[in-house]
């Protein structure tokens, strides 16, 4: 009888952190100076967040940190490690060089100013 010997190396499975990719809750508001994009990113610190603008596409990528206190066992899990990902095509009138982002209390705010040249202008009417 032949016995198959399975070596440990053969069955090693690559251990990888498996993160779901989800779109964060996001909303965009507009005022006269531009747009304000707000995304809810709980558990994300500024080191694990990337905001980029490339070819008029704004890309938000972040990974949350889920604490695992030592000496405790998990009794209920509703929060998992996830990758937040969202991309937005910016209108031409947004000044990509002037985009600013800030992160506070789990909310990311991205200010997208409208370039001065593209702002609506009031035309003075010359009285004759």
């Amino acid at each position: 009888m032949k016995t198959d010997v399975v070596k440990q190396e053969d069955v090693q499975v690559e251990r990888r952190e498996c993160r779901d990719e989800i779109m964060p809750n996001t909303a965009v508001r507009q005022d006269k100076d531009g747009f304000l994009l707000v995304a809810e990113l709980p558990g994300v610190d500024d080191k694990s967040l990337q905001v980029t603008v490339e070819d008029s596409v704004l890309l938000i990528e972040a990974a949350n940190t889920v604490a695992e206190p030592e000496g405790y066992t998990l009794a209920l899990r509703e929060i998992s490690p996830v990758t937040y990902k969202a991309s937005f095509e910016l209108p031409d009138r947004v000044d990509a060089a002037g985009v600013k982002a800030s992160l506070k209390n789990g909310l990311l705010r991205v200010q997208l100013p409208i370039s001065e040249a593209k702002k609506p202008k009031r035309i003075a009417i010359a009285a004759e």
Binding site: P42, G71, A75, L76, N105
Partner: protein, 132 residues
């Protein structure tokens, strides 16, 4: 089709009854995602419990964490992404009493963490039997 609206809000109180806690399951996935706010992770250890709740957009100074006997409540008002305000409250019943003087709470990056030590009287104790 979802039926969240038909859920009795007082079911929130059923989150923890004794030690027969739901381990993920229906509470952790479906109902938790759509209906319960904030979402939490809960850990249990010999020293007590640790809760982590995702509450982005809340001012930590206006976050109300309250423990009364075996009940923990987390409530407050938060700013949503669209700028609107959202009031929330979630309550949990712990299997044992908490040492309410030693509760520690921390808020960082939109996540509230609360450590609740067991009340000493409810800690399991082993009695030493003196032999005369």
């Amino acid at each position: 089709m979802t039926h969240y609206a038909t859920l009795n809000p007082w079911r929130l109180m059923d989150d923890f009854l004794g030690f027969d806690w739901p381990l993920g399951g229906a509470v952790g996935s479906l109902a938790g995602m759509g209906y319960r706010y904030p979402r939490v992770n809960v850990w249990e250890g010999p020293k007590g419990w640790v809760f982590a709740a995702e509450i982005p957009g809340v001012d930590p100074a206006k976050l109300d964490v309250h423990v009364d006997g075996r009940e923990l409540s987390i409530k407050g008002n938060r700013e949503r992404a669209d700028g609107g305000a959202l009031a929330f409250e979630r309550r949990f019943e712990l299997p044992q009493e908490v040492a309410s003087d030693d509760i520690k709470a921390n808020f960082s990056n939109g996540v509230l963490t609360v450590a609740l030590p067991r009340h000493r009287a409810s800690e399991p104790r082993r009695l030493t039997i003196e032999v005369a």
